[in-house]
């Protein structure tokens, strides 16, 4: 069984579980949340359509070599800073983000730089912020969260430098 299928099963299982709890609270609660959820879905689909269908183009025009070039070995804190900027600038989904990380690691990138890259990408890749987080969440929260997250790739790199590779 593939990981994606397993995740789908857990996902819909959770929906069924909370749906059942809502049903137990009475049909009115169930109906209200079904309507609410469907409205959210209808509102969000056009935004996601633009994002997902457009993201391939954004990824295609940003060359991956430029990003991996910044994560060079022995680049120290300058390399970490470059990694954080690269992580934020990396377009596309998890395949692209992790592939660039894997390439950088194989090409001799320092583990602290690569970890800073992966953590920065996870925390505030601009494309995910714009395409996923902003449509679903209040914009004020999104910018606030991204700003508060800025120190953490550096902290992760510092921890990585302190404890070393396994």
């Amino acid at each position: 069984m593939s990981a994606a299928l397993l995740i789908d099963i857990i996902l819909w299982g959770s929906v069924a579980a909370v749906g059942f709890i809502a049903f137990q609270r009475g049909p009115k609660v169930l109906k209200a949340s079904l309507r609410e959820g469907s409205m959210d879905f209808i509102n969000i689909v056009p935004r996601i359509a633009l994002g997902v269908i457009g993201s391939g183009y954004i990824a295609a025009v940003i060359p991956q070599e430029v990003i991996t070039g910044w994560l060079g070995p022995n680049s120290g804190w300058v390399g970490v800073l470059a990694a954080v900027i690269a992580g934020a600038a990396t377009p596309g989904g998890p395949v692209i983000g992790f592939s660039i990380g894997a390439v950088a690691l194989k090409a001799g990138g320092g583990p602290p730089q690569v970890i800073a890259y992966v953590v920065a990408w996870a925390l505030f890749a601009f494309q995910r912020l714009l395409l996923w987080e902003i449509p679903f969440m209040p914009a004020r929260f999104v910018w606030f969260r991204a700003a508060v997250s800025i120190p953490f790739p550096f902290l992760a790199a510092a921890i990585a430098m302190a404890i070393g590779r396994p």
Partner: protein, 168 residues
């Protein structure tokens, strides 16, 4: 929305100039497939968010995850983010629902950051196969303290930026 639209249009034009119509269509076909695959999960995420917003008692949430919930609230948020199934299509609607029913920015930040750094969904599906087990486990171990720290920093900054919201 407009920014993204412009960005996409400019990128598509660049691809078209570089690779011609064939390149444009190839990417379009790939992204359409991706979109079709994601759509049901987006629906699941929206329903999950709506149900959670409806069934969670507001007073309990604001006590457990509100501005005065302390480190415990941040830990609950982080744990919740780590076990939450699905991708961005679940995490953000659910986070939005939590905000709506009384969680504060700090606990919600802990949740979102935990989902993105520790959540097993992305790690199992993408990071393990691409980055390898050693790197993934090492990265997750290093990331463990970050969600609570991010939530604490968020809460610390929030009450100073928006002192009016600090009630109760």
């Amino acid at each position: 929305m407009i920014t993204i639209g412009v960005l996409v249009a400019v990128s598509a034009t660049l691809v078209w100039r570089r690779d011609g119509m064939k390149g444009v269509l190839e990417i379009l076909a790939h992204d359409l497939t991706l979109f079709g695959g994601i759509l049901p999960r987006v629906l699941a995420g929206c329903l999950l968010g709506a149900f959670i917003a409806e069934i969670l008692p507001h007073e309990k949430v604001s006590r457990a995850l509100g501005p005065n919930s302390g480190v415990k609230g941040l830990l609950i948020g982080a744990a919740f983010g780590a076990i939450l199934p699905g991708g961005p299509f679940t995490a953000y609607p659910v986070a939005s629902a939590l905000l709506a029913v009384g969680a504060d920015f700090g606990a919600t930040i802990a949740m979102v950051v935990s989902w993105t750094l520790i959540g097993y969904g992305r790690a199992v599906a993408w990071e393990l196969p691409i980055m390898g087990t050693d790197f993934t486990l090492w990265r997750i171990a290093i990331s463990l303290p970050l969600p609570v720290l991010a939530g604490a920093l968020g809460r610390f900054v929030y009450v100073r930026m928006y002192p009016k919201d600090e009630v109760e």
